[in-house]
């Protein structure tokens, strides 16, 4: 039976339209995927009665969101990068960042695609131009958007990372189907389920010194 040429023509037209929308760059899709996981964190916080606002590096209110295309320093002012501020009743506030570097136990810098950080630590880091300590990163997510099954080396790399940035609330989040990773729907449930208790727990910190 010959193949259907009309279907090949339809696929051709479809892919051509996808190019017009800028879907052909894998790095762009990865950026959107990280942004999606950032939104999942906000959704989880919202379900736990958090007030959410968007802020720039200079702690001004953000009306346009700007995110990094690769991990950078939390204190960089090259662009007015956005983070979300989460305020819970009776809890210390938190911040949700995309693509920031954090310091591991070994004092080596690691990259977190999405990170929920104690706000006091984030403010201290911005003021002092230093990277957050992994111990102050409450949730870290490594995000991988793949069109096929993810490769073993990615999981192996993540396991190595968690040995230096603590193991609790560290997630390998992927859209790809694989026996050891979670699909999109499962990630939503797990992230919501696992963060519920965390967001309810009060975090008491002394007020941070503000020099700016």
């Amino acid at each position: 039976m010959p193949i259907r040429e009309d279907l090949i023509a339809e696929i051709d037209a479809l892919i051509s339209s996808a190019v017009s929308e800028g879907y052909e760059r894998p790095s762009d899709t990865n950026d959107v995927y990280e942004n999606y996981v950032w939104v999942l964190c906000l959704l989880a916080a919202e379900r736990n009665n958090a007030a959410i606002r968007y802020e720039t590096v200079r702690e001004a209110s953000a009306s346009k969101l700007i995110f990094r295309t690769s991990p950078g320093a939390i204190y960089t002012t090259a662009n007015d990068y956005t983070h979300a501020v989460l305020e819970f009743p009776d809890c210390s506030p938190l911040e949700v960042h995309v693509g920031v570097k954090v310091t591991g136990i070994s004092r080596v810098l690691h990259e977190c695609d999405v990170a929920v950080i104690d706000r006091a630590e984030a403010q201290l880091c911005r003021a002092e131009q230093v990277h957050p300590r992994a111990s102050k990163v409450l949730i870290a997510a490594e995000c991988k958007f793949y069109t096929s099954a993810i490769q073993l080396n990615l999981g192996r790399g993540f396991l190595g990372l968690t040995s230096d940035i603590h193991r609790k609330q560290r997630y390998f989040v992927t859209n790809a189907r694989s026996s050891g990773a979670w699909g999109i729907g499962v990630v939503v449930r797990r992230l919501h389920g696992r963060t519920r208790g965390l967001f309810r727990r009060p975090i008491h910190r002394p007020p941070v010194r503000r020099d700016y």
């Binding site: 339809e10 696929i11 295309t69 690769s70 096929s148």
Partner: protein
Amino acid sequence: MVSVEDADEYRRRIGEVLRRHGFGWVLEEVEAQIGEGKPSSKQISERYTPPADSMFTVQTPKRRRASLVTSEPYSASERLEILLQAIRAAIIHRSVLEAAVLNHVKGITEIEFQPDASTAEVEGTRLGRRHTLTVSRLDPGSSLRHRAEHVLAQLEDEARADT
């Protein structure tokens, strides 16, 4: 099932389309998965080699069954389905993600992705390039998603069709 020749021909032709439009990375990810093979369980009987002993006769234990993992090659129609799933991810998932993000951040009409360096320095590097996500993308994204659902469903039917 579609014949091996037809499945391979569909895969070759769709691969050409993807490569021509700059989606070669999708093919690379597909080929990596196909190259790994399909993990499956295999029931085997454990083998026991008695130690060489001239003084005693060692009784051979009863052979035990064990389930081990093996890798099998994907069939031609499975290879085609992996490719179609990859296109689904590259187009449909991408569009769903964009809509999910834009629909959640109320009051925000534009999201910008900026490299942490000047654009001239980062073109072609892993630092990514500047791009934006605006609400004006929602409608074209939705239309693209529906078209993709339609054509991929037909191709999936072809992949499963009897010869």
